[in-house]
Symmetry: C2
Subunit: 232 residues, 2 copies
DNA sequence: TCATGATTTTTGTGATAACAAAATTATGAA
DNA sequence: TTCATAATTTTGTTATCACAAAAATCATGA
């Protein structure tokens, strides 16, 4: 388990290879981060099973795992849904992100090589380009890759998978307002500051930059969520 | 899911009520924290199922969940075992504990009432008494309760369950050397400092005390583990 | 004694069916 | 309409079985 970390995403309907439970898990997970389902959408075992063309057992296992991770929520003994916007949950996730991603950043900084810096620079360029061309989905994807390229440096596998679960949790509940969220040149300044500090091998400076990035994202997401909630 | 938080432990073989998966989960979990199994002990689905007198499905689900939480480890495609002593894992868990429990402490401090302070004082007295009478198991239990009484104050449910998973992970791998670990008046000074700072409503002071407690525990556990590893 | 290959046993996975409980829909009265 | 209740459908849970793959055991030869 915990093969979360280095999976390169697969664009379309991948053929089930390996354990069907894992296939079901990553399928639902991808649909969640792509915003296929609206908040409140029900995910009954049999429907998921039929959709993915697997039996009930793998579907059940995948759903349970996602509930456990917080990417889906149980609102009744027999009803699992995609989570609604929830500012308290967003706040909690953000606080945990600051603590955990801050830790990973600081610990990883000293292990950074030139390769890493190059990769980060390349990623940042891709992000900027994607934003200019309004390909928000790509921008979000590379933004995630930027963060995790740093977090992977510290070689703490469980820390990494815990952070991934947090991203998934936020992504599941807030994906549908990512477009408006991404509008404002998301995180460019913070990313560049992080890279510079990384070159200087200054752990607390890198951490500060990343924390700023997280907080900026939180503020923007919160604002978008509040406006959305007001409108409804 | 995540009914982790406020379960009062049940001393003996509880009767399966509610979902059998949950029953299996808490049974194994309790056995793990009680140190019933030596590190390296295999936990095959069918054996667990037979032991708990449930079908294979609930046993499978419980085991998978514990693997996911890190309380059990997979060492092969078909073999999960109780984890061995692993100093790197202990270090990683400690770093995460410092980040997360520090967060919970700081956030909870301002919400503390007099009731809480009284409860903490009572717990600390129980701990000291248990240690004097060499009832280490009781001391460990109340020590955990002490910590979580503080962590619960911030009302961040997912943060809490993540912390619980960390305790379980450390407990599963290191339980068998808790006696030697607990010998030295574990944490008394730090706990008292935390209580005082809590009365003063000084978040960073409470956090510092709790972090000290975590670090002291880490050092002692590490030392005991190193000696154990050398002896073998 | 130890390594290596073959054989047997064990084990995880996934499909399926039965059951009880929950969720939904229909019904009826105020 | 609105609310409570009854009927019906949906749904999660669990046990069981078959199968393939892994693990353990045994046999063989150096």
């Amino acid at each position: 388990m915990n093969d979360n970390t280095t999976e390169e995403e697969s664009s379309a309907s991948e053929l089930p290879s390996g354990r069907l439970s894992d296939f079901a898990y990553s399928s639902i997970k991808e649909q969640l981060t792509r915003g296929v389902y609206k908040p409140g959408h029900k995910l009954p075992i049999r429907s998921v099973a039929e959709m993915l063309k697997v039996g009930a057992t793998p579907a059940r296992e995948a759903i349970n795992r996602l509930v456990f991770e917080g990417a889906l929520v149980m609102v009744g003994p027999k009803t699992v849904i995609v989570p609604h916007l929830d500012l308290a949950a967003l706040y909690e996730a953000t606080q945990m992100r600051l603590a955990l991603e801050g830790l990973a950043t600081e610990r990883g900084t000293l292990c950074a090589t030139n390769d890493v810096v190059d990769k980060l620079l390349a990623l940042q360029e891709k992000i900027t380009l994607s934003l200019d061309e309004k390909r928000y989905s790509d921008a979000l994807h590379d933004n995630k890759e930027f963060h995790f390229t740093i977090y992977r440096l510290c070689e703490m596998p469980h820390l990494l998978s815990t952070i991934e679960a947090l991203w998934l949790r936020v992504g599941a509940a807030f994906h549908d307002l990512y477009p408006e969220f991404a509008e404002a040149k998301y995180g460019v300044h913070n990313h560049l500051a992080a890279i510079e500090a990384l070159v200087d091998k200054d752990p607390s400076a890198v951490r500060a930059a990343m924390e700023n990035d997280i907080r900026d994202g939180y503020r923007r997401l919160k604002k978008a969520a509040q406006e959305r909630l007001k409108r409804e």
